[in-house]
């Protein structure tokens, strides 16, 4: 048992330390593919770059289930390099100037840099337009980056014991959970599609095409969710360490009540801690699955996470383990959405 868990944490560390902003998922995709090879019946990459692994074949009484965890992360894209080598940028996904300041970035081509800021007026709130990336270049000519180059935040994985911190827990922790579930689950009569989706942070785009291609009967996103357990934080029931969160709604979709019930029943059956999630802002791949083709019952298994979209996103070790157990239990039995 201990060996398996070590492997989960090792995989998680590898995933969160690999850069892969939306549209530049080729490196993270190959790492995941190498790790799951041999555990699936079929692995392929679709037109947009979603990595799709099938395990099991549909049999009478089973269901075709799509699990989607996105492998892209927020990042920055260069829009201009000036004569002195300073690079201006635009956000890829939801980026706050406040979490950029003093940050270090790693470009897909290996170049590193730090984020600096123009002088602000007193009480001025920094905007992204006032920030720039300094790669140490002394001129435009010796800059290793140009317009269109992409970087993610660079920050090492931090093990705080019960709590784990990294730059892209959103959504690499879910990818690690899905990978672990893929390895462990016995699909029985179900046909399982594990989708490691792209471009979620810029509008759930990968899941739209993956869902159309897979054409599932049930859809389950795995993603992080906010918590309400920090000092003077948002009012929200979800807290770190209280178990996997079962999504009821977010601003992108309302989870199918039958899927919610299916998840709750499984958590109860396994005597796993769980919490109900009502998220006021944010969206997940569940929205894309729900509205593909003629419609699909869809839900989302959420991992509680503090400081989302900052370089230091925090999750709870037990929540991660329990999420694997819940997912394996859901996928390995006949599904009844009565």
């Amino acid at each position: 048992m201990a060996k398996k868990n070590n492997s989960l944490w090792t995989i998680l560390q590898t995933l969160v330390e690999t850069p892969g902003p939306s549209g530049s998922e080729h490196v993270i995709r190959e790492k995941i593919k190498a790790e799951i090879e041999g555990h699936a019946d079929e692995i392929y990459t679709d037109a947009l770059g979603n990595l799709i692994a099938r395990k099991g074949t549909l049999k009478e009484g089973g269901k075709r289930i799509m699990v989607s965890a996105h492998i892209d992360e927020i990042g920055l894209m260069v829009t201009h390099v000036d004569d002195n080598g300073f690079a201006r940028f635009m956000p890829i996904g939801g980026i706050s100037p406040l979490t950029c300041l003093g940050g270090r970035v790693l470009f897909m081509n290996g170049t590193r840099g730090v984020i600096g800021m123009e002088r602000l007026e007193k009480d001025e709130h920094p905007e992204l337009a006032k920030l720039f990336i300094d790669t140490g270049a002394t001129s435009k000519a010796d800059s290793q980056i140009g317009v269109g180059d992409v970087c993610g935040f660079e920050r090492p994985f931090l093990d705080l014991g019960k709590r784990l911190v990294a730059k892209s827990m959103d959504d690499r922790v879910a990818a690690a959970i899905a990978m672990e579930a893929l390895k462990e689950v016995q699909p029985g009569k179900n046909e399982l599609y594990f989708v490691f989706s792209v471009q979620e942070e810029v509008g759930i785009r990968g899941a739209i095409t993956a869902a159309y291609g897979v054409d599932p009967e049930v859809g389950l996103a795995v993603d992080v969710t906010r918590t309400g357990d920090t000092p003077l934080g948002v009012k929200m029931e979800v807290a770190l360490g209280n178990g996997p969160a079962i999504k009821v709604r977010d601003s992108s979709f309302i989870a199918d009540p039958r899927v919610v019930k299916w998840m709750v029943n499984e958590a109860k059956a396994q005597k796993l801690p769980y919490q109900m999630e009502v998220l006021e802002a944010g969206g997940t791949d569940g929205a894309a699955m729900q509205r593909t083709r003629a419609g699909v019952p869809a839900g989302c298994l959420s991992i509680p996470c503090r400081y989302i979209h900052s370089p230091s996103e925090m999750v709870d070790r037990d929540d991660v383990e329990n999420s694997v157990k819940l997912l394996v239990g859901l996928l390995g039995k006949p599904v009844s959405l009565g």
Partner: protein, 364 residues
């Protein structure tokens, strides 16, 4: 069929025949939702060149032109037929009408502009109080659309109805190396797509989508892409060039594109992250043929590619635009060289296109 010569000999130019067509396209009134004038021109131009033509449920013109080679790649190219403009919403008598804008029009661009209304091209003007009667305070305010009226004068009212659309009345003009028009966005794309249907390279099946309602949210492209189910998607559009020197002498870090620097290849906009394999293909094609090109600065805005790439199980897509100053105003300005180089780039790239560019060459 009077199909044209093998495409390899195609050398884009803007002679009298081409300029006449572009002029006709640009001067047409074709506001989102009522694109019939441009649609009629497209259908007429391509009657003898298409292998298949249909007008779909929303009004997109879908044209298929098949190459003659083996292993042809099914490429969808979209250019939108609609333009931004106005819609008449209320008749106030005496030839005075209340209106709304259709698509992204800056209200500061409206007052005092001559306009053309409806299918009969009724001339009018967007009126505002004369400077003689305004106070200094009033002159600091931007006039809102609901404070403005379109005035066609009494007597013409019977020809203008609620729901009619209109545009700025500007006629196309050639200004030396430049062209000025109200609707270069996206009649240049329509013009270029017509040329590509007439000169389709033999290695592709060209799926030409002349789309509707792009300015309202890429609506026509969505269903056109579903119908065509292509292997590759390209949007041909026009994008702002904000390349004038800054009044304060500071470096311009957000020009978007520059006039004269060639076709603008998109990396990312609000709706699409361009497929990296297709971006590489376009850049290599331009370099090989020594066609000038530029990256459009990653930013906001969007093209039909935003819907095409999300169609069905996904379509690798990219956008290329002709840089244009003063987009969505009464008079945009482009360089003829940029326009011809854009057409040349797409045609060259298509000629070089092989399905193998879609292979993912990734390291473990």
């Amino acid at each position: 069929m009077a199909k044209s010569d093998v495409s390899t000999k195609f050398n884009p130019r803007l002679g009298k025949k081409e300029l006449d067509l572009l002029t006709k396209l640009c001067n047409a009134v074709s506001v989102s939702g009522d694109e019939q004038e441009v649609r009629a021109i497209v259908l007429e131009e391509l009657r003898d060149f298409a292998d298949f033509t249909t007008v779909d449920a929303m009004g997109n013109v879908l044209v298929r032109r098949e190459g003659t080679g083996a292993n042809r790649v099914r490429v969808m190219i979209a250019a939108h037929m609609d333009e931004v403009g106005f819609m008449i919403i209320k008749d106030e008598g005496d030839g005075v009408y209340e209106f709304k804008v259709i698509g992204g029009v800056d209200p500061r661009q409206l007052a005092g502009k001559p306009v053309t209304i409806g299918r009969d091209h009724i001339p009018g003007v967007i009126g505002a109080k004369a400077i003689h009667l305004t106070t200094p305070e009033e002159r600091k305010q931007v006039l809102k659309v609901d404070q403005l009226r379109i005035d066609i004068g009494p007597g013409g009212d019977s020809k203008v109805k609620i729901g009619d659309r209109g545009t700025f009345a500007t006629k196309l003009a050639v200004l030396g190396p430049s062209i000025r028009s109200k609707a270069l966005d996206d009649r240049l794309g329509v013009f270029n797509l017509i040329q590509l249907v007439k000169h389709t390279p033999e290695n592709v099946d060209l799926l030409a989508a002349f789309t509707v309602q792009e300015e309202l949210g890429l609506r026509g492209a969505k269903i056109a892409a579903f119908a065509f189910d292509p292997e590759i998607g390209i949007a041909m559009d026009s994008t702002p060039a904000n390349d004038l020197p800054h009044y304060d002498g500071l470096a311009n870090t957000s020009h978007n594109t520059k006039l004269g620097d060639g076709p603008a290849i998109y990396i990312m906009d609000r709706g699409t992250i361009g497929d990296q394999r297709l971006i590489k293909w376009l850049v290599e094609s331009a370099e090989a043929e020594k066609i000038p090109w530029q990256f459009r600065q990653p930013g906001l805005g969007g093209t039909d590619a935003g819907e095409i790439h999300k169609t069905r199980a996904g379509v690798p897509s990219v956008s290329v635009s002709v840089p244009q100053r003063y987009l969505h105003s009464a008079a945009g300005l482009i360089r003829v060289d940029d326009e011809l180089n854009t057409l040349k780039l797409i045609h060259t790239a298509l000629k070089r296109l092989d399905r193998s560019i879609l292979n993912r060459q990734e390291k473990k």
